[in-house]
């Protein structure tokens, strides 16, 4: 499991209660693990598509998943780049729901899946689970509300920096000092997540590379100065726990 300290820095996650599975009573936890279906995806494979029936709740165990929505014009608006260990597809706890976003593996990825019926059985056996799932879904809405507010009010450079901060807090806590932090994100994904044009991404990353903040590679960014990134995001030096 990821370091809980790392989770507590992330205002959109819920600290030590950031996943529903570990909160189950011991016997039910074993039952839930036994009922989980393992899934392996290659990089580029789709986990679920926007608008599809939401049949399963997922846990990202290894790899990376990119969440995005499609505009009517067929372009991709990025929502989140998710690193382990995180829940996905929580909406499948609701009967007859559809996934509001698409999810695609951006690296070789391993997940666990629970069909809707299994989730219902677990909730019946342990009613607080239903409330916990709601808490987790609420956190997703809060994240989206924050991003909407940022899109309306922040300069593009601040928004680019915040996407990178959101990714950095999901990395497993390294032994200190741990620089450079390797952020697994492509320029295209960064453009879709901000959202902005690829040209603006290139211009901004070029300027930040000149400043010594990062080095841009083909599919990753090597971050040399987390404090400087926080400054460009408009976040206090203590980090994202104080910026909301």
């Amino acid at each position: 499991m990821s370091d809980t300290t790392r989770h507590q820095l992330q205002p959109d996650l819920l600290g030590p209660h950031s996943q529903w599975l570990p909160q189950l009573p011991a016997s039910l936890y074993q039952r839930a693990l036994a009922a989980a279906q393992p899934i392996r995806l290659a990089a580029g494979q789709t986990l679920f598509g926007q608008g599809e029936p939401a049949r399963s709740v997922y846990l990202l165990a290894a790899g990376q998943v990119y969440l995005f929505q499609l505009t009517r014009a067929g372009q991709q608006l990025g929502f989140d780049l998710v690193l382990p260990i995180r829940d996905l597809g929580l909406i499948a706890a609701v009967p007859d729901a559809t996934y509001p976003l698409s999810a695609q593996a951006s690296q070789p990825t391993q997940l666990l899946a629970w069909p809707h019926a299994t989730i219902q059985q677990l909730c019946a056996a342990h009613p607080p689970l239903a409330l916990h799932l709601m808490l987790l879904a609420h956190a997703c809405s809060q994240q989206l509300a924050r991003r909407t507010s940022e899109l309306a009010t922040l300069r593009v450079e601040q928004r680019i920096a915040r996407v990178l901060v959101q990714l950095a807090v999901q990395l497993p806590a390294p032994p200190a000092p741990a620089l450079p932090l390797v952020l697994p994100v492509t320029r295209q994904q960064l453009a879709e997540l901000t959202p902005t044009t690829p040209a603006t991404i290139s211009r901004t990353l070029g300027a930040w590379a000149t400043d010594g903040l990062l080095t841009a590679h083909r599919t990753t960014l090597a971050l040399h100065d987390l404090g400087a990134l926080h400054a460009r995001a408009g976040i206090g030096p203590q980090g994202p726990s104080v910026y909301l």
Binding site: T71, A93, L101, L131, L133, M134, A137, H138, T148, P195
Partner: protein, 160 residues
């Protein structure tokens, strides 16, 4: 939100009319209700996930539509939800709607909303007064909401 342990209210709810009746349940009784009637948890989860979908639509509009289009869409939605015939032949949006509210709803500034409404008033599409909007030409407003070609989503959001 009270059903969610340790949650904070994410928004401020403010009464728009002078007399409003609200039913309230504390967090503990609500939790007990949900444990007895699991269907309530399903309904509550549907509400939470419904909010996500609404926010997603708002985010997408903010990322892909010009500000005039977003304002027009907000007014069309409000007309559908709260429009009543006005004695001068238009449709009054039946809730107090200040320009600041409209700016907040569409992710722009008071200045841009004022400028846009003034331009539309000159074209006979709306009439707006203090906290009051009357739609005169719903067809024209809908055309503004729909027919203006959307910006490519990869472009910069326009200066608001």
């Amino acid at each position: 939100m009270a059903a969610i342990p340790n949650a904070e209210y994410p928004l401020t709810a403010q009464c728009l009319s002078p007399s409003v009746t609200v039913l309230a349940w504390g967090s503990a009784p609500l939790t007990a209700l949900i444990e007895h009637y699991p269907i309530l948890a399903v309904r509550a989860m549907q509400m939470v996930t419904g909010r996500f979908v609404q926010l997603q639509n708002l985010y997408r509009e903010l990322a892909t539509l010009r500000v005039e289009q977003r304002i027009a869409r907000a007014l069309v939605r409000l007309t559908r939800q709260a429009g009543t015939p006005d004695q001068t032949g238009g449709t009054l949006i039946g809730i107090p709607l200040s320009r600041q509210h409209l700016a907040d709803m569409t992710g722009t500034t008071l200045y841009t909303v004022s400028r846009t409404l003034s331009a539309w008033e000159q074209r006979g599409i709306v009439t707006s007064g203090r906290e009051r909007v009357i739609v005169r030409n719903l067809e024209g407003l809908t055309a503004l909401a729909d027919d203006v070609p959307p910006r490519p989503s990869q472009a910069e959001p326009p200066p608001c």
